[in-house]
Structure formats: structure tokens, C-alpha cells
């Protein structure tokens, strides 16, 4: 008799990490709110405010999840966010008629950046860290050089994305939720998603199975750039006008990587998913809100955040067999 009857394991392996993280985050937030007497933060409005802290980082991190799953990485998102926010406000100049052209132009620009990143990584064989660090520098430089002193503003109507709400639920949350579900759906239910896991999990195997791995990597980079574009547009709407520094000041590059990895997606690729990433983003949002309530000094906050990043990843990385670098 064959003895090895496989025990079925859960099909979505990142779910436990996600649930655990989300639970811890919410617990932390609730306890802090109760202890500091900020019970109003537990009301609908307070929760909506908490969740709104997730939107910008969440959008970037969704895209980052795609590139990390495929075994690559994207450091250019921060510069891209700035570029999109500036472009959007500059093109619109407060004119609602320019909303659509501006959005199209921005997303088109993102697609081009994603394409260049992806092509250099997949077809050029250049290390993705270097490629995206380089393209990020290029974008940042051109942006600061030509738009450093520009003032523009998005249309009032465009700001509805960030400030409007329906039944007390901000549109921006609906946007994040919709895009998260879409991203989750793409990864879990579509051909493209399956290919991403295949290429990230075993590039040679994927190639042998007939997958055009280069195209998948390139597409993942385009997805990441488009999500960064979405974050840039959201920020433009929320901030009315973009400055060439909002991406860099928000540290969206490193933070998006951190939350993705905290959420259980492994840097080598092929394992992880949207749920974990969102839980990681939620952790960061509750830390922000919780530290505010506790009145923790800004510098100490940074120390704690650094320690939490390491600890959160160590919790599931420590079981890794073999070596990481």
C-alpha cells in the first residue's frame, strides 16, 4: 500500500497570517481607544477614519504585492505617485472638463513606466532593485526639475473621490475595497493570477510548462505601476494638488514592501496574497492611530515602528528552512 495520503491543507495559505494580523491590529486599536478614553474612535466615523488611513498605502501595496509575488520588486512607486499627483493637478488646473483626460494621461504614463520597468527586468535581465531604483530617480529628478515650483489643483469635483461618501462610507474606502477585491479576484481566479504564482514560485518550471515568464513579469510591473497611479490620483484628490515630494515623504516605496512582506508574501515570490497585504496595511494604520491616541513622541514612534516591522516579519520568517539574504 502507498502510505502517503496527503492531508489537505488550506488552499489559501496566507489567510491565517492575514486573520491573525488583522485581529491583533483591531485588538490593539480597540484596547488603546478604551484605555485612553477615546471611545469616539470606535464609532462608525472613527472606524471610517481609521480605514481611510489605509487607502493610499493600501493601493500602492496591492500593486507591490503583484510584483513581489512574481519574484520582483518595485522601488519606483514613490516617485511615480508624486509624478501622477503632480500631473493630475497640473493637467486639471481645477477644470472639471479635464478630469478624464488627466486620469487617462496619468494612467497612460504609469503604464509606460511599468512597461519600462518590466521590460528592463524581464527582458534586460537587470536586477529589479536597480532598475526600479533607477527609474524612480529618473522620474523624481525630471519631476522636481520641471514641476518644482508649479501650482495646480485638481477639480473640485475630482476631490469627491477623497471626500465624498455614501451612507457614511467614504468613496475612497469603496475604491480600496473594490480594487482589493479585484486584485484578490485576479490573483485567485484568473489565468493571469495563476501565472503570477507560477512564475514567482518556480520560474524555470513555469517556463517549461510553456508560460511566457517575461510577459508575466512585465505585466505584473505594469499592474504595480497602475496601482501606484491610482494611489497618486487618490492623493491628488485628497490633497487638492500634488507636490513632487508626496511619494517620497510618504515613504510609499519601502512601506509598501514592508506591509506586503509583513502580510506573509515572501520576497522570493510565489506565496502570499492580497489578504495578508491588507492586514499589513491595517497594522500600519492602527499603529498610526493608536500612537496618536497614546500621544507617543514622533521619534519614539519611529523606533517602535522599526521594531514592529522586524518582529512582524520574524514571526513567520523564523520557521524558514535554509538561508535568506
Amino acid at each position: 500500500m502507498t502510505t502517503n495520503i496527503a492531508k489537505p491543507k488550506p488552499a489559501i495559505p496566507d489567510l491565517p497570517v492575514a486573520v491573525l494580523l488583522a485581529g491583533l491590529s483591531i485588538g490593539f486599536f480597540a484596547v488603546v481607544a478604551l484605555v485612553t478614553g477615546e471611545t469616539a474612535q470606535l464609532s462608525g466615523e472613527g472606524i471610517a477614519g481609521l480605514l481611510q488611513r489605509m487607502v493610499a498605502l493600501g493601493l500602492v501595496a496591492l500593486g507591490q504585492t503583484f510584483v513581489i509575488l512574481v519574484g520582483s520588486i518595485d522601488l519606483s512607486v514613490a516617485a511615480l505617485i508624486s509624478a501622477v499627483a503632480v500631473l493630475a493637478s497640473h493637467v486639471m488646473q481645477g477644470d472639471p472638463a479635464m478630469m478624464l483626460p488627466a486620469v487617462l494621461l496619468c494612467l497612460g504614463f504609469c503604464a509606460v513606466v511599468g512597461f519600462v520597468n518590466g521590460a528592463l527586468v524581464a527582458y534586460g535581465g537587470i536586477n529589479p532593485l536597480i532598475v526600479t531604483l533607477g527609474t524612480g530617480l529618473i522620474i523624481q529628478g525630471v519631476l522636481a526639475a520641471s514641476f518644482g515650483v508649479l501650482q495646480g489643483a485638481v477639480a473640485r469635483e475630482f476631490q469627491v473621490i477623497a471626500y465624498g461618501s455614501v451612507l457614511g462610507v467614504p468613496y475612497s474606502l469603496l475604491l480600496l475595497a473594490t480594487l482589493s477585491l479585484a486584485a484578490g479576484f485576479v490573483l485567485d481566479r484568473t489565468l493571469f493570477g495563476a501565472r503570477i504564482y507560477a512564475v514567482g514560485g518556480n520560474p524555470d518550471g513555469a517556463r517549461l510548462a510553456g508560460i511566457r515568464t517575461e510577459r508575466v513579469i512585465l505585466s505584473a510591473h505594469m499592474v504595480a505601476s497602475l496601482f501606484a497611479g491610482a494611489a497618486g490620483l487618490y492623493l491628488a484628490a485628497r490633497l487638492q494638488s500634488g507636490t513632487p515630494w508626496i511619494g517620497r515623504d510618504g515613504i510609499y516605496d519601502l512601506e509598501s514592501i514592508a506591509v506586503t512582506v509583513i502580510g506573509g508574501t515572501i520576497l522570493a515570490g510565489g506565496k502570499g496574497g492580497v489578504a495578508g497585504t491588507l492586514a499589513g496595511v491595517l497594522l500600519f494604520a492602527t499603529l498610526d492611530a493608536g500612537f496618536n491616541m497614546l500621544g507617543i513622541d514622533a521619534f519614539l514612534k519611529q523606533v517602535l515602528r522599526g521594531a514592529i516591522v522586524i518582529a512582524a516579519v520574524a514571526v513567520h520568517a523564523v520557521r524558514t528552512k535554509g538561508h535568506v539574504a
Partner: protein, 327 residues
């Protein structure tokens, strides 16, 4: 079995003169500087160039150790900042304490390196995440300690490390103390990789940690030591930075990425297994020459970032292309 014709193994080729890609780039860039501003070719200004490039070169040497073993150290900029702030607070203007404080700074650096190394080697957190965490942590500590602004003064004997220039030195005219420190550190870094067995261990670990482990290499210790060297280089660079220009809260900002870029431009391979001290040294000098050249050209500051990005991609792309062509 048909083997491709081979020369006899015992017949050793004359030692190849390894021409480092970074050296070529550096010479080209410095020639351009000299063309624009001929007085940069005088020994005095070259020495001054070295003095200013010293912190970056030293950081690149430390970063190289980590890169060889297959990792990254993003925390070195924060460590340099911490060093500058800690020095000003601890010394507090009293020149007698300078040397003791410098000792303490190195102890601090070594401990940060140990933390990075242990987390990567034993908790298996990828180095890019680990050092991102320590970057936040160390930066936060530095700011919390200083209250967010420079405190205390650095006495002259500390400042001299980055500032003192001996004049009327024969042949070269002037000799900055920082250039001497630079030469000393590079020599030490070279010795570490070429004068001990460590260098080859690091290369093997970066190339294939599993094979190295099975061959008996102390993989964890090799990794940890690399992070310690990196942190020590950050301390040294921090001391020079503080000496060169005094106390500030953003002394080390962004230097980690410049150091990584420098190594890569010099031909070190990310994720390990390839590179030498000369990659770091000439890569860093190239990068610094590039900055200087762009300054001299008077381009808008911002575009300098862009050009740095182009150079970075081009340098790595070119080395990829060379490797591919060879195979």
C-alpha cells in the same frame, strides 16, 4: 567524449590585469571634470575631492561586505546620523573625551551590526526588511536622543578628522586627514577580503549559501560579520561627516542607497557572489565624480538625480550584457 581543446592546467597564464569597470568610469568622469575645470587636475583639488568622497567610499566598502554575502544594509545612513548626533551629545564640547567617545561609537556600531546580522541569520528575516527596520529604529533613536535637533558641539580634535588639511606636504601639496583615514579604511577593507580567508568565505556564502554550509563554512557567522563591518564603516563615515561639516540631524540621509549604487556601478553583483573592494572604491569615486561633474555643469539639482538613475541602470545593464555575451 569530446572536450573542447584545452591548454594544460599547469601552464598558468600571466596574472590577468583585472580592469575594474568602476575604474574606467571614474577615469572618464574625472577627465570630464578636468576638461571643464582644469584646476581639478591639480593635486590639491584632487586631494580635496578625495576628502569629500571619503565618507561615501568608506560606506561603499562596508556595504560591499554585505552585498558579497548576498544581502543589503539599508541602515548605514541612519547609523551615520546616529554617530554624528551621539558624538555631539556625548562629547559635548569637551575635547578630552573625544577618543573615549569614538570608542563608544564603535561599540554602538558593532552592536547594531550584530543585531542586523542575528536577525537575518537566525530569525531569517530578509536583510532588506531587517535593515529597513533598523534604519527606522536607529534613526528614531538618534532623533529621540537628541530631541530632533543638533545638541552639543564637536570639539576641534573631532572635527579635524574630517576637516584638517596638512599644507605644504611634498609632492602632493596638501594632504587632508580624511584622505589618510580613507586610505587606512580601504586598506583594512582590502585586508579583510584579501588578506584573510574571510573574503572567499563571503563570496561563497553569497554565491551559494547552501553549498557553503555543506562545505563547512560558518554561514551565519560570515553573514553577521559582514553586517558588523558594514556598521563599522557607517560609524567611520559618520565620524568623517561630522568632522567635515559638523552636527546635523540629516547627516547620513540617503547614503545607504548611494553606497549600494556605488558597489553596483563598480561591478559588484547584487545578491552576492561577485565583487571586490575595488568595485566599492571606484564605484563610489565614480558616483562622487558624477555628482561633482553635474555640479560643475550647473544642471538643475533635480536632474542630477535623473542622471544618476540612468547611469545606475546603464552600468548594471552593461555588465549584464557583458556576462550574457560571454556565455
Amino acid at each position: 567524449m569530446m572536450t573542447v581543446p584545452q591548454t594544460s592546467a599547469s601552464l598558468r597564464r600571466p596574472a590577468r590585469i583585472a580592469i575594474n569597470a568602476g575604474l574606467v568610469i571614474f577615469i572618464a568622469l574625472y577627465a570630464a571634470i578636468g576638461f571643464l575645470q582644469p584646476n581639478y587636475l591639480e593635486p590639491g583639488l584632487f586631494m580635496n575631492f578625495l576628502r569629500r568622497a571619503a565618507p561615501l567610499v568608506i560606506l561603499a566598502c562596508g556595504q560591499l561586505y554585505v552585498i558579497l554575502t548576498g544581502g543589503f544594509d539599508l541602515s548605514m545612513g541612519a547609523v551615520a546620523t546616529l554617530v554624528v548626533l551621539a558624538a555631539s551629545i556625548l562629547i559635548n564640547g569637551d575635547p578630552d573625551t573625544t577618543w573615549a567617545v569614538i570608542g563608544a561609537l564603535y561599540v554602538m556600531g558593532v552592536s547594531i551590526g550584530l543585531v542586523n546580522g542575528f536577525v537575518v541569520a537566525f530569525l531569517k528575516v530578509p536583510s532588506i526588511i531587517t535593515t529597513l527596520g533598523t534604519m527606522l529604529l536607529v534613526n528614531g533613536l538618534a532623533l529621540a536622543w537628541s530631541g530632533g535637533a543638533a545638541r552639543g558641539d564637536l570639539p576641534d580634535n573631532f572635527r579635524n578628522l574630517g576637516r584638517l588639511v596638512w599644507r605644504d606636504v611634498s609632492v602632493i601639496g596638501t594632504l587632508p586627514l580624511a584622505a589618510v583615514v580613507l586610505a587606512g579604511f580601504v586598506a583594512l577593507a582590502w585586508f579583510g577580503l584579501n588578506g584573510t580567508v574571510y573574503g572567499k568565505r563571503a563570496l561563497a556564502v553569497g554565491d551559494n549559501p547552501r553549498a557553503a554550509e555543506l562545505a563547512g563554512t560558518p554561514v551565519a557567522a560570515t553573514r553577521i560579520l559582514a553586517f558588523v563591518v558594514s556598521a563599522v564603516s557607517a560609524v567611520t563615515a559618520g565620524i568623517l561627516l561630522g568632522g567635515f561639516s559638523g552636527v546635523s540631524v540629516n547627516a547620513g540621509e540617503g547614503l545607504e542607497l548611494q553606497a549600494i549604487a556605488a558597489c553596483v556601478i563598480g561591478g559588484a553583483q547584487l545578491l552576492g557572489g561577485r565583487g571586490s573592494v575595488w568595485s566599492a572604491v571606484f564605484g563610489a569615486l565614480s558616483l562622487f565624480a558624477l555628482f561633482t561633474l553635474l555640479n560643475l555643469l550647473g544642471l538643475p539639482q533635480a536632474l542630477r538625480d535623473s542622471i544618476q538613475g540612468v547611469i545606475l541602470i546603464a552600468a548594471v545593464g552593461a555588465s549584464m550584457w557583458r556576462t550574457r555575451r560571454r556565455n
